[in-house]
């Protein structure tokens, strides 16, 4: 019960203080999918392939989602550090991972708005018909995607917590994920030496599952969902491990709040 109360409080704090009131967050959440859906739609028009529309919609939506999650995750920690409250958060009886987890789950859920923007732009402004072959499976894939992004961002937030250049890291991890997960193109077109990296990222499989559910696909939906959930759970386990190590290490060295 206490667990849920903390999560709810963190979620409310995240919505009212850290995300929606911030212009840059709204930019990532709403403007990023607008830019990418427009750019990729222009290219799609010259591809001659009707089936590529799913890449435009899902890719640009997911990019906005990831962009806003990364922006918020890093900015939250930088802000706490600059306000000298990061040490206090770490010292409270509530586990630090739970505080961050509550915030990052909220970020992932809010990130769904990006997908909504991308769908709206493609359907209403660009006038393209959108069909979901299996709406039920799409919803399931969407839930798996939120879980994936929340656990991946929790893992990455351990880096942000330790690093004094979190803002630089924020910029650095945005595009590699876009690229390696094949957000706007299939990951198979990446050079072979990059593919193992791509396979190790849960969003790659989450996107595949969503595309399968949207277009009908080739029957790999359940396999992709399984991989998504397994990898995301592995990230969660790693995060718990790292958070415990970090907490112990910074308590000994007393360097958490160093700027």
């Amino acid at each position: 019960m206490n667990f849920l109360r903390i999560l709810t409080k963190e979620a409310w704090f995240q919505i009212t203080c850290n995300t929606l009131p911030r212009q840059m967050y709204l930019f990532s959440l709403l403007f990023v999918p607008l830019i990418y859906s427009f750019v990729s739609f222009i290219m799609f028009q010259h591809s001659g392939q009707a089936s590529f529309l799913s890449y435009v919609v899902l890719g640009s939506g997911m990019m906005g989602m990831w962009s806003s999650i990364v922006f918020s995750s890093s900015a939250d920690i930088v802000r706490e550090r600059e306000n000298r409250s990061l040490e206090l958060l770490m010292a409270t009886p509530t586990p630090f991972w739970l505080i961050m987890g509550g915030r990052l789950c909220t970020n992932s859920l809010l990130g769904l708005l990006s997908l909504g923007v991308a769908l709206l732009i493609v359907r209403v402004f660009l006038g393209q018909p959108l069909y979901f072959q299996s709406p039920g499976l799409f919803l399931l894939a969407l839930i798996a995607t939120v879980y994936t992004f929340a656990s991946l961002s929790l893992l990455i937030s351990t880096l942000f917590a330790l690093s004094r250049v979190a803002r630089v890291l924020q910029n650095l991890i945005e595009f590699p994920l876009f690229l390696l997960c094949g957000m706007l193109f299939p990951a198979e077109i990446l050079p072979s030496f990059l593919r193992p990296l791509s396979w190790s990222l849960a969003p790659t499989w989450a996107l595949e599952a969503m595309r399968e559910a949207m277009t009908g696909g080739t029957g790999g939906f359940w396999f992709h969902i399984l991989l998504t959930v397994a990898l995301a759970s592995f990230y969660l386990w790693l995060s718990a491990l790292f958070f415990a190590k970090i907490e112990r290490s910074v308590r000994i060295s007393g360097t958490l709040g160093s700027i």
Binding site: Q23, R164, V165, V168
Partner: protein, 266 residues
């Protein structure tokens, strides 16, 4: 003579110090991450989108476009950030309050970004050659270098406008990212400007990069410099207009901020 020497020294010291501070040289990793690794990923991502949607030929088109777009990192981000950081640290009022002419301070801070932007384009063109097979065998190198300088000039001039706005606008990150988006969408970086709807094309024509990039693409394919002089002239003209606007705005913003004491307000 002494005055000129003093001004040059001020510009040089300003250039060096602000650049070191900007890229946190105490943490050189930050410089490598921001200047080398991040642009490489961004570049590769856009080229792969073009490859998937439009095929290998258009991927090379996007590779050249994105090599030139990398100039925006130094020219827009660098210029805006140099004053933003002062603002965040609460030292902007001291910089503005010193007797040193602010134009010299500004020129000093821009200087390293010229080198930075040149480095970015050459790095981008090397990526384009090595990883995406852009063929420079018949390139007109003299003309190409001229086109690079014209784009760097116009982009930096454009950057002065946003640097001036950064003196009074609170959320400059938003400003920077919006400007980046303009280049991605309107300047013919990832696809020819003719793919845009008719009513959007004039935006691209009025922005820096568009004309210089068109000229550069022709020069890479071996065109004579004389055949792209009009495009290069337009790029420089657009840059000149933005420079005048930017410097005018800078002087106006400075005096407004002094008058209203709004320099450090967040």
């Amino acid at each position: 003579m002494r005055r000129i020497f003093l001004s040059l020294r001020l510009i040089w010291e300003e250039a060096l110090l602000s650049y070191k501070a900007l890229f946190s040289w105490l943490e050189p990793r930050a410089f490598i991450m921001l200047q080398v690794i991040q642009p490489m990923f961004e570049f590769t991502f856009f080229v792969f989108i073009a490859l998937f949607f439009m095929g290998p030929e258009r991927a090379q088109f996007a590779a050249v476009g994105n090599a030139f777009r990398l100039v925006s990192v130094g020219s827009i981000w660098g210029l805006i950030s140099s004053f933003r950081q002062e603002r965040y640290s609460g030292t902007l009022k001291f910089v503005i309050g010193t007797p040193t002419p602010k134009l010299l301070v500004f020129l000093g801070r821009s200087f390293m970004h010229v080198l930075d932007s040149l480095f970015a384009v050459f790095m981008g063109l090397i990526y384009a050659r090595l990883f995406f097979g852009v063929d420079f065998a018949s390139a007109n190198w003299g003309g190409l270098v001229l086109s690079i300088f014209s784009v760097v000039f116009s982009m930096l001039s454009f950057g002065t406008i946003f640097s001036a706005l950064g003196l009074v606008i609170r959320d400059v990150n938003l400003l920077m990212n919006s400007v980046y988006a303009l280049f991605i969408v309107f300047c013919g970086v990832n696809f020819p400007i003719s793919y845009l709807p008719d009513f959007l094309r004039p935006i691209g024509q009025a922005l820096p990069l568009t004309h210089g990039l068109t000229a550069a693409r022709a020069l890479i394919q071996g065109a004579q410099t004389s055949s792209v002089l009009a495009q290069l002239g337009l790029e420089i003209l657009i840059g000149g207009i933005y420079l005048l606007l930017g410097l005018g705005l800078f002087i106006w913003m400075e005096s407004t901020a002094r008058k209203n004491a709004s320099l450090d307000l967040y």
